[in-house]
């Protein structure tokens, strides 16, 4: 941790003045325990704050002290009130001769011990099965939660894609492998949705082969007056995702080439997969 930066971030003042979130508070207390310089900075600010408050104190009306001390002594009395137990009536004592009594006590102790052991065993088993059941439930719950999250992510992806498709401003440009004589895969197909108002470009991959290695990545190009302009790189994704690419104000055609990961400054035309003209 860069403690100097942390100390100067305003976290100290936030914490001391009670303005942190629960998360920030726990993190700060952890930092104070681990880094003496953080704790020292906190104390320095606390002392400055306290001294300033003492120096600019506003005395409350003098009669208030009596009221406060009286309220405190009422608190004190309430806390010390002792709950008196009702007197226990003396039990009927059966006098036994000492020997008999000792044997009786021993027998009673043995019986109690056996009962107690039995109960211990019984409750321990109950406890074990309850714990196992609980662990299982926790595990199941975690699985359900993680499945739910995955589905939710897919769903919001689909909703986003739908929004793009429903936008009436969209100019649709079909990019097909059949338009390119030298395409490595002439059956490739991808579609551009180009927002005529904002000029944002969205891409949907209909069918394109996955690159052979992770070193390679597809790159979208906009052809502007004969010059290819980079419109962003993308990976083939499962599902119906519509990918947002770079904003392109003007273009006559769009094309996709396979390039090294991260993209190239100019396209490698022998790796031109699909092309589509803006109609």
């Amino acid at each position: 941790m860069n403690t100097k930066e942390y100390i100067e971030s305003g976290i100290i003042e936030s914490y001391v003045l009670g303005m942190t979130s629960e998360e920030e508070r726990l993190e700060f207390e952890q930092a104070c325990a681990s880094y003496p310089e953080v704790k020292a900075a906190r104390e320095a600010f606390e002392i400055a704050l306290e001294n300033q408050a003492l120096a600019t104190a506003v005395a409350p009306p003098p009669q208030l002290k009596g009221l406060v001390m009286e309220a405190l002594s009422i608190e004190a009395k309430e806390e010390t009130k002792v709950v008196k137990m009702p007197a226990v009536p003396p039990a009927n004592v059966v006098v036994m001769d000492p020997n008999k009594r000792l044997r009786f006590v021993a027998a009673a102790a043995v019986v109690l011990f056996l009962i107690s052991s039995g109960l211990n065993f019984y409750y321990f088993n109950q406890y074990k099965s309850a714990t196992a059941l609980y662990d299982n439930l926790v595990k199941e719950n975690t699985e359900v939660a993680s499945n739910y999250k995955k589905i939710e992510a897919k769903y919001s992806e689909a909703v986003e894609s739908m929004k793009v498709l429903q936008n009436p401003n969209m100019v649709v440009v079909k990019m097909a492998g059949s338009e390119v004589a030298t395409s490595p895969d002439p059956s490739s197909l991808a579609t551009i949705y180009w927002d005529a108002a904002t000029k944002d470009v969205y891409l949907m991959v209909n069918k394109m082969p996955a690159p052979k290695t992770t070193e390679e990545q597809y790159q979208l190009w906009a052809l502007v007056d004969g010059v290819p302009v980079d419109a962003g790189v993308f990976d083939i994704q499962n599902g119906v995702a519509v990918l947002k690419m770079k904003n392109i104000p003007k273009a006559q055609a769009f094309a996709v080439t396979l390039e090294k990961r991260g993209g190239s400054p100019t396209p490698h035309l022998e790796q031109l997969y699909v092309l589509g003209k803006v109609s």
Binding site: L17, E43, A57, V58, A59, K65, V68
Partner: protein
């Protein structure tokens, strides 16, 4: 303070945890002014501020067992109790109504609503340091610290992105540190 008894903070805390009434008397003598000033910066009507101070000392008495010196100084802990009690009052229905009856225009950082205080609440304690901040910072600290709004609420009120609110508050707080020392 006729008798010049002084305690170290550790001694004082130990006595307070023991519910020693003399120690509470000492605590009152030493800190009531500082705490009262923090209360009047939030609650600007004298009678209500008196009630809050009394409530604060009762709360200190009741909760002193939970005070943990590892997490901060005693005054810091008490200051937070005082601030929370003041803001609770500020947000209570009764206080809102009494403010309406006073029919004084709402003002984000005007500390003189209702029965005004002498001296002016703007001129004491943290508020004095806050007065030296830039306008945009001052309003944020006023809402966050003296009015007790969450960062999310402030973003809503000031129509500012949440991230900006957080950054500005942090920056205002670090400036206040240098103004205090």
């Amino acid at each position: 303070m006729g008798t010049a008894i002084t305690y170290t903070e550790q001694e004082l805390v130990a006595l307070l945890k023991n519910k020693d009434q003399n120690a509470f008397g000492y605590l009152y003598e030493r800190y009531s002014g500082a705490l009262y000033s923090s209360i009047v910066q939030i609650v600007d009507q004298q009678e209500l501020a008196n009630d809050v101070l009394q409530e604060v000392f009762v709360n200190i008495w009741r909760r002193i067992e939970t005070y943990d010196a590892a997490k901060g100084r005693l005054y810091t802990w008490m200051l937070n109790i005082a601030r929370n009690a003041s803001i609770d009052l500020l947000r209570s229905k009764g206080f809102q109504n009494s403010k309406k009856n006073a029919s004084i225009p709402e003002n984000v950082d005007d500390g003189t609503l209702g029965t005004a205080f002498q001296p002016d609440a703007n001129n004491i304690g943290l508020k004095k340091a806050v007065q030296q901040l830039k306008e945009e910072h001052r309003i944020l600290i006023d809402l966050a610290y003296f009015k007790g709004y969450t960062h999310e609420e402030i973003a809503e009120i000031t129509k500012t992105p949440l991230g900006t609110v957080k950054t500005r508050i942090r920056s205002a707080l670090t400036q206040m540190r240098s103004l205090l020392s």
